[in-house]
Amino acid sequence: MATNMISKRNLGMLMYLIFVLLPIYWLLNMSFKTNDEILGQLTLWPTDFTLNNYITIFTDASWYMGYVNSMTYVAMNLVITLLVSLPAAYAFSRYKFVGDKHLFFWLLSNRMAPPAVFLLPFFQLYSSVGLFDTHLAVALAHCLFTIPLAVWILEGFMSGVPREIDETAYIDGYSFGRFFIKIFIPMIRSGIGVTAFFTFMFSWVELLLARTLTSVDAKPISAVMTRTVGAAGIDWGVLAAAGVLTIIPGILVIWFVRNHVAKGFALGRV
């Protein structure tokens, strides 16, 4: 009976994985086809295998710069988020201070603002401070939803570290800064890994703000992709190839944090 249970479990898992992977496979499949084959007949794998779609992307600066731009603002956002969230999360996890609970809820409430109508004010704000069409503008705007989440996750992990450790370090003559960098941060490494994962995830997948705050120099890949819709219809092959390439950075990131995921996805709160 036990083996029966296990195989039923595996079968269910397998079916769900197929459900997850089939749409992605279809995109991958399309990216290696010519447009004639895509529109001609339905084929389960490319019969007329071609790399032309990818060559188009890698030889055209306006295409591959989209990826560079996206990665630039995601990386900037990641650095800013971690730099300001680490001390803030430490304060929330260790101290009581005036307005701490309200501040925390206000912080989380920023994740709940519907982006659609806030786009115009965002555009005006960043234009007025001269940041429009820079990577920094997108990175700062994304902080609005990455920082709350980062503080939330880090606070969970930091609360798991006993305060005696802080106190011992201070008695041993560590200053706050040295203690924080030399002792505390290494102790919550996996928390930082998971925070980085979530920050990357929500910044990388966001399109509305990124598209609104840029025009040429910092245009993200998701906005460049709309180019494939031309007068002659949609260039499906290139669109699929561009889509596949947006998945790859995500795979790399999840690969790096895979060992922390089990603990980390619970945001340090189990």
Binding site: P114, S222, I251, V261, A262
Partner: protein
């Protein structure tokens, strides 16, 4: 953990506060400002007070899309939470299979939202997409571009595909935190699999499920990009959810005042639902702990 009262901790929070406030408060105030004015162009605007707020109470188009939105978010939660728990229970716990499954499950979460829309736009098409083609060949009349119900179901299926992994991964990490001793005790007691789930696993999942439900509610309530790419809100208005209606009003028709007023109402709805949900859960936790102390 007992926290030390110390107002100097504000210095640690301050950089974060300033940074978020810059992006949060100024745009919010601008929206409040819009919502009180009738704006014709950049230089012509009249103060109209609460007129737009009264308007939002009468506007049936907004009410319809609000109802659609609630229907959608509710369906999303009803499907994704149980399915996510089920997937988490089925996931392998050790070895290379565990890592492999983790990575594969996380894939949909890391795809840009417009690409998610594109993937399903292609995948569900009757002529060039595997999903639509298969359904049509099975004799099911399926066309998400012309049939409102098909369109709605496709958007729902896309969201399930996209986000169930998040619930599953949250629950998976919750399950991993249960000590083996619990299972051994259950084995000695000859507990049925259902009893193990109901009395050991589910209570331990409560914390992560709160996070999962909150994140899924907030994000599905603000869904914009994916249905916009997949169906463009059509056919008709069957998949026009709230953010899209607001965007059409604000940018398409330049009715910024009413759109701003309603997005503030919208913001308050999300805030209220999250707050009610959050306090109910923490209340339940407190009464649970209270019971434990009584014994």
């Amino acid at each position: 953990m007992n926290k030390i009262p110390n107002n100097k901790a504000w210095w640690l929070v301050l950089p974060m506060f300033l940074l978020v406030a810059f992006s949060a408060i100024i745009p919010l105030m601008t929206v409040v400002n819009y919502s009180l004015q009738d704006i014709f162009d950049q230089n012509t605007a009249y103060f109209v007070g609460v007129e737009w707020y009264q308007e939002t109470l009468r506007n049936t188009r907004l009410h319809d899309s609000l109802l659609r939105q609630f229907g959608f978010s509710f369906s999303v939660l009803i499907i994704e939470i149980p399915l996510g728990i089920a997937v988490a229970l089925m996931m392998p716990t050790r070895g290379w299979q565990a890592s492999a499954v983790l990575i594969l499950l996380a894939l949909p979460l890391l795809i840009p939202w417009n690409v998610v829309g594109t993937i399903w736009q292609v995948f569900a098409r009757g002529d060039i997409g595997l999903f639509g083609w298969t359904l049509n060949n099975l004799g099911i009349d399926y066309n998400y571009t012309s049939n409102p119900l098909d369109a709605w179901l496709t958007v729902l299926l896309m969201d399930v595909w996209h986000w169930t992994s998040l619930v599953a991964l949250l629950c998976y990490s919750g399950l991993r935190a249960i000590p083996d001793a619990y299972y051994q005790a259950a084995k000695i007691d000859r507990a049925s699999p259902w009893a193990v789930f109901r009395y050991i696993q589910l209570p331990r999942l409560k914390n992560v499920l709160v996070i999962g439900v909150l994140l899924r509610f907030m994000d599905s309530f603000m869904i914009y990009t994916e249905p916009f790419v997949l169906t463009g809100g059509g056919p008709g208005t069957s998949t026009t959810f709230l953010s899209q209606t607001l965007t059409q009003m604000a940018i398409g028709q330049f009715d910024i005042g009413p759109a701003a007023a309603f997005s503030l109402v919208y913001f308050l709805i999300v805030l209220l639902v999250s707050w009610v949900f959050f306090t109910t859960i923490t209340h339940m936790e407190r009464s649970d702990n209270g019971n434990k102390h009584d014994k």
